[in-house]
């Protein structure tokens, strides 16, 4: 994957039709979200509540995690603590080995994506089956998700039809979504029925009761966990919320913000293991507790992974998830990437027009745009300011700080109109790429004013 958002986006935009479809489709999702939000008179009150609950929960995280773990263990679950991705992956592998499992059926989890669990398990001889339709398609194509809720949004049906022909022996040339979904239903049904271990992520953990809450539309999480004897939950420590009153707020916001549905088809609450089975909950830190100490960016921990900021983002819609170098794209991904490793992911910062639309749709009111702005201000301090832009900024600083200098520059500006094009638009002028300089007026406003208005 190319590390530079600008060049990757150029590649994405080469397929004009595909890019337009991507943009329009995500915008439709944004419109569905708006319709849902407008149908709830107390919508803004809910967003404010959700934000306050999360701020409270993440600033009392030690207390709530302990309460959650205690309640879960009382319910018969086993709670594991993983400080990083490596430890998380080892715990999963250990559990699989303990049960002599050679296969695990998974439902969608961005956390296991973050931990690169699938690759780790495959390297250790485990057959990993992703069971969310989009995730399964991508697994068969050996691609990462390009959106956190609609992972295969970048793919056209013909590609999926071809893939299924090869892997599932479906009818040649048939790329009808209903047909293809039905074929995968049959195929994965057999995997569900024969698995000993199932894995899920967690949308929420309730401290009061020890419940793990998983929201899906397909029912794949439940198909797996209700057949397997062992259920392993991977849960980021920031997913814990105080109680069911809090959960009520989030179940009202999540699907409305994500896909424009009033709620997901299934909102499952796992409290006890299946009779005779085991429930393992892995609480994963992997850098989250460090973020608590970062006042300017701690709000990212409020995120409930709905994807609304991607659907509304004019840059995401027109550049696609793969243009970002961090595994989570869009406004939230830009910020999470910077928190993970600024040196590695700083180029994503250019993927923002500072329109702040993300701030306005975020159901937990994360200040996404402000954060991106702040990261940009700090680029120079990490040695990543663009030298050409830095030079220009320094030049402008001199210009705008010296009125005399500024006035003479303005008077001379019309000369630029006459400069031959190749001298203005060349590889040294980054701002000239894709942009046209406006024509300078023959006279400055001040001189016009002095001549015509001022007496």
């Amino acid at each position: 994957m190319n590390k530079n958002h600008v060049t990757s986006a150029e590649r994405f935009l080469k397929d004009k039709e595909g890019a337009q479809w991507h943009n329009e489709t995500l915008w439709i999702t944004r419109e569905k979200r708006d319709k849902m939000a407008m149908g709830i008179p107390e919508w803004e009150e809910l967003r404010e509540l959700a934000s306050s609950i999360k701020m409270h929960a993440i600033t009392h995280l030690d207390e709530y995690l302990l309460q959650f773990a205690e309640a879960a263990e009382k319910n018969g679950a086993t709670v594991h603590w993983a400080k990083d991705a490596t430890e998380h992956n080892e715990i999963v592998l250990d559990l699989l080995r303990k049960h002599n499992a050679v296969k695990v059926v998974k439902s969608k989890s961005m956390l296991t994506e973050e931990c690169c669990l699938d690759d780790f398990l495959c390297d250790n001889g485990i057959n990993v089956i992703e069971s969310d339709l989009g995730e399964r398609i991508l697994q068969l194509l050996n691609q990462p998700p390009s959106h956190i809720v609609m992972p295969a949004i970048h793919l056209k049906r013909q590609i999926i039809g071809k893939l299924f022909e090869e892997k599932l022996h479906t009818e040649e040339g048939n790329s009808d979504p209903t047909y293809l979904t039905g074929c995968m239903r049959e195929n994965l049904r057999q995997e569900f029925l024969s698995t000993e271990v199932a894995m899920t992520g967690a949308n929420f953990g309730i401290a009061e009761t020890g419940d793990v809450v998983v929201c899906t539309n397909e029912g794949n999480a439940d198909m797996g966990t209700s057949q397997a004897n062992v259920h392993i939950v991977s849960m980021g420590i920031e997913k814990v919320i105080p109680d069911r009153d809090s959960l009520a707020v989030f179940t009202r916001l999540l699907a409305r913000s994500a896909t424009g549905q009033p709620i997901t088809s299934y909102t499952s609450q796992y409290r006890k293991p299946r009779k005779g089975g085991e429930l393992h909950i892995i609480l994963v830190d992997n850098g989250r507790s460090d973020i608590l100490g970062n006042k300017e960016h701690m709000q990212t921990l409020k995120c409930i992974r709905c994807g609304a900021c991607m659907n509304t983002c004019p840059v995401y819609r027109r550049s696609g998830g793969y243009s970002y170098s961090y595994f989570i794209p869009g406004p939230i991904g830009i910020n999470l990437g910077m928190l993970k490793s600024p040196q590695e992911y700083y180029t994503n910062l250019s993927a923002c027009t500072l329109c702040f639309s993300c701030n306005n749709v975020c159901p937990v009111k994360i200040d996404l745009g402000n954060q991106i702005y702040r990261w940009r201000q700090s680029l120079d301090s990490i040695g990543k300011a663009n030298p050409a832009k830095k030079m220009l900024s320094n030049g402008m600083s001199i210009l705008f700080n010296h009125p005399g200098f500024f006035r003479s520059a303005l008077q001379m500006a019309p000369v630029v109109n006459k400069i031959p094009r190749p001298l203005k638009y060349n590889k040294f002028n980054k701002w000239g790429e894709g942009r046209e300089l406006p024509e300078f007026a023959p006279e400055t406003f001040t001189s016009w004013w002095n001549k015509n208005v001022k007496r």
Binding site: L49, L155, K156, T178, A248, Q261, L292
Partner: protein, 191 residues
């Protein structure tokens, strides 16, 4: 130091300003006709809901709704079925059931969701059947999720699920398809 303590220590070390828990009592949406709203919403989420009329026989209604169902499974008293799902040895044996009939505990008017605390032997039952009928007393309809969570109860199984319409996906070009993995159709019968 074990990982648990390391994580908790790191949290304590990094935590700064503490924020209070807000009072969670929003002025949440209410409906003058919860039955009508619930039925409309059930249809909007791709499912269905029907109100049993006075004097109408529920078994007759089910037979009319799903005339082609061959394997019908239910553990609900006085419901006509061809098998009792509680008599299976493994959840795998529930595969291939045309129609499952279960009881729900709470219906939510704002989103068509029905709360079902596990009330059959295998939780797989709610997901694996081709079509699901949920029987729900119309007196158990609430306006919104805040009210629902105030009433939520669990059985000894320790599992429960809100179901709103059928299993669905739009992962292929955003085209909506019902029956991704779970039930292809869900009908709530309000009693």
């Amino acid at each position: 130091m074990n990982s648990k303590d390391q994580i908790l220590n790191s949290i304590r070390q990094h935590s700064q300003v503490k924020y209070d828990r807000p009072v969670i009592a929003p002025d949440a949406i209410q409906f003058s006709d919860k039955v009508k709203q619930f039925i409309d919403e059930s249809k909007r989420v791709g499912g269905d809901a029907v109100l049993l009329k006075d004097g109408e026989d529920v078994n007759q209604l089910i037979a009319n709704l799903y005339p082609d169902a061959k394997t019908i499974a239910s553990n609900v008293a006085n419901i006509t079925s061809t098998m009792n799902p509680d008599l299976v040895d493994t959840p795998r044996q529930l595969n291939g059931i045309d129609l499952g009939i279960v009881e729900g505990e709470i219906g939510v008017a704002e989103n068509g969701a029905v709360w079902i605390p596990q009330n059959v032997k295998e939780r797989a039952f709610y997901f694996i059947v081709d079509h699901l009928i949920i029987l729900l007393s119309k007196d158990k309809l609430v306006n919104n999720m805040h009210e629902a969570y105030k009433m939520q109860q669990f059985t000894g199984y320790g599992f429960g699920v809100f179901i709103s319409g059928p299993s669905k996906t739009a992962d292929i070009e955003q085209a909506l398809v019902k029956g991704a993995h779970g039930a292809k159709g869900v009908t709530v019968i309000l009693l």
